[in-house]
């Protein structure tokens, strides 16, 4: 009887241009038969945006090096220059920076 644990991004969605919604599934198996499956979610956007006291903006690209290869691939494909520019405009338009 072998109990194994597998973790993988089993659902990756691009929502409203720049949101990459990632669902990470944790699968527990016994002799290759799935016993349980649980989900953890997080959402990625192209930049970490902050506004300085002089009202200037800094948009630091989101570090996705820790994401799985398929998440990185989808993020890189979805975050085109146009999408990145749109996100910067959106972030700077928010009431709270």
């Amino acid at each position: 009887m072998a109990i194994t644990k597998e973790t993988k991004a089993d659902k990756i969605e691009v929502v409203n241009d720049w949101n990459i919604q990632v669902r990470t599934a944790t699968i527990i198996k016994e002799d290759d038969v799935e016993l349980t499956r649980s989900f953890h979610r997080h959402v990625l956007v192209p930049f970490v945006s902050s506004k300085a006291e002089d009202n200037s903006w800094t948009h630091t690209p989101t570090d996705i090096s820790g994401e799985s290869a398929n998440v990185q691939a989808i993020a890189n494909a979805a975050w085109t220059d146009d999408v990145k520019a749109a996100y910067k405009t959106f972030a700077e338009s928010q009431t709270n920076p």
Binding site: V15, N16, Q21, F39, H42, V43, V48, S50, F90, N96
Partner: protein, 388 residues
């Protein structure tokens, strides 16, 4: 008296005589009465007739046992009843209560193959080929070529409405079996008071359509295989502004709440900091607990200014008015004034919510990092809509 035979006279015409003679050919204009021999009242054999035409009467064979009508070559196997229909070796044979129908062959009169056998108990067996591939087919049309895995029994009469009826008063079933289990799968209709349709897979009955219209899944999940589909409630009455009536998603899981100023992320106790979510349709309900250990990020950056919570499981809707509010039900170690309360407001089109503080007579203000604290804690819930 010596036996008299018909013998030719001098001019070739027949007359009774005693000599044993025969003609190369002969003709009898007509016969009235019975042809008989002197030794017996019936003709036992006419020898070989090259042609026999019967018009206006029957051919009757009357015999005490095994009456036989044979249409066969002398070399062919004989049967009690054997009718060979000329042309393409079409044969009907009968013997010992078994009726057999042959067809095919190569028109040599002796190579037809068995197509249908009807036993003495009326069971019918298609023993030969009905179609060219050994399939059983009713109807002569070929509206479409059946797929190979389902072409062994074909009903194709070439009309619009086609059906097959299974009539009974108890259980009527179509069974699927293999070498290990004769009824590992199947569809069964139970007549009588139940009137249920039961579907069997892997020797269990996980699905039943009951007589009252209810569908019962006794063991297993109802799996929606394509995103966007689900349970359609369009039959129910609608509220004004209704935009969708398909319940197409449900999900439970966890998420990790974080306190951030948008750049730096406060450090938290991973054993106690946790969020859970339930997504029902487009509604996302989140509960969370955050236990900070330091307002300085692991990278050394200080969280300051207005703070927000991120890490939510889904992005909020991208529409004005979607800035849902959340409740901080309990908090401790915050640097706020007694009587003030903390709340959350979702940002649109991202997975973040601003911390707000009810410390103003005019409403709320953005909560500042200085109003939290290195060991601040809070617990709460928030619900919002998502476009996914």
């Amino acid at each position: 008296m010596a036996t008299k035979n018909i013998v030719p006279n001098a001019d070739g015409e027949g007359q009774l005589g005693t000599s044993s003679k025969s003609w190369a050919q002969g003709h009898i204009d007509s016969i009235t009465g019975t042809i008989a021999t002197a030794a017996q009242g019936s003709i036992t054999s006419l020898g070989t007739l090259t042609s026999l035409a019967v018009s206006g009467g029957d051919v009757q064979i009357s015999k005490s046992s095994t009456p036989t009508l044979r249409f066969t070559q002398t070399s062919a196997t004989e049967y009690n009843a054997y009718i060979k229909l000329g042309g393409n070796d079409l044969e009907i044979r009968g013997s010992s209560g078994i009726m057999e129908f042959y067809n095919g062959g190569n028109n040599d009169g002796n190579s037809a193959t068995l197509a249908l056998s009807i036993s003495s108990s009326q069971n019918a067996t298609f023993a030969g080929t009905v179609t060219s591939n050994g399939q059983l087919k009713t109807g002569t049309a070929t509206t479409v070529t059946p797929v190979s895995v389902a072409d062994d029994f074909i009903i194709d009469p070439g009309v619009a409405s086609v059906g097959m009826s299974i009539i009974g008063t108890g259980q009527c079933a179509i069974q699927f079996g293999d070498a290990d289990d004769a009824d590992v799968g199947g569809i069964t209709y139970v007549h009588g008071s139940e009137n249920d349709m039961i579907f069997t897979v892997n020797a269990t009955n996980p699905l039943k359509i009951k007589s009252d219209g209810n569908v019962e899944v006794s063991d297993g999940d109802l799996v929606i295989g394509t995103a966007g589909h689900g349970i359609n409630f369009s039959a129910t009455s609608d509220g004004s502004g209704m935009s969708a009536e398909v319940f197409d998603d449900y999900e439970e899981g966890s998420w990790t709440p974080r306190v951030t100023d948008g750049t730096d992320v406060a450090q938290s106790n991973g054993s106690f900091t946790r969020g859970d979510y339930t997504k029902i349709g487009r509604l996302v309900h989140c509960s969370f607990q955050i236990v900070l250990t330091d307002l300085t990020s692991s990278g050394g950056g200080e969280v300051n200014g207005s703070i927000r919570m991120d890490g939510f499981p889904f992005a909020n809707r991208n529409v004005q008015g979607a800035q849902s509010g959340g409740v901080i039900g309990a908090a401790s170690h915050l640097n706020i004034t007694a009587g003030h309360s903390v709340s959350l407001v979702m940002r649109i089109n991202v997975a973040e919510a601003d911390f707000s503080l009810s410390d103003s007579s005019g409403g709320t203000t953005d909560m500042q990092a200085s109003e939290f604290s290195d060991d601040g804690q809070c617990k709460g819930t928030i619900s919002y809509m998502t476009d996914s």
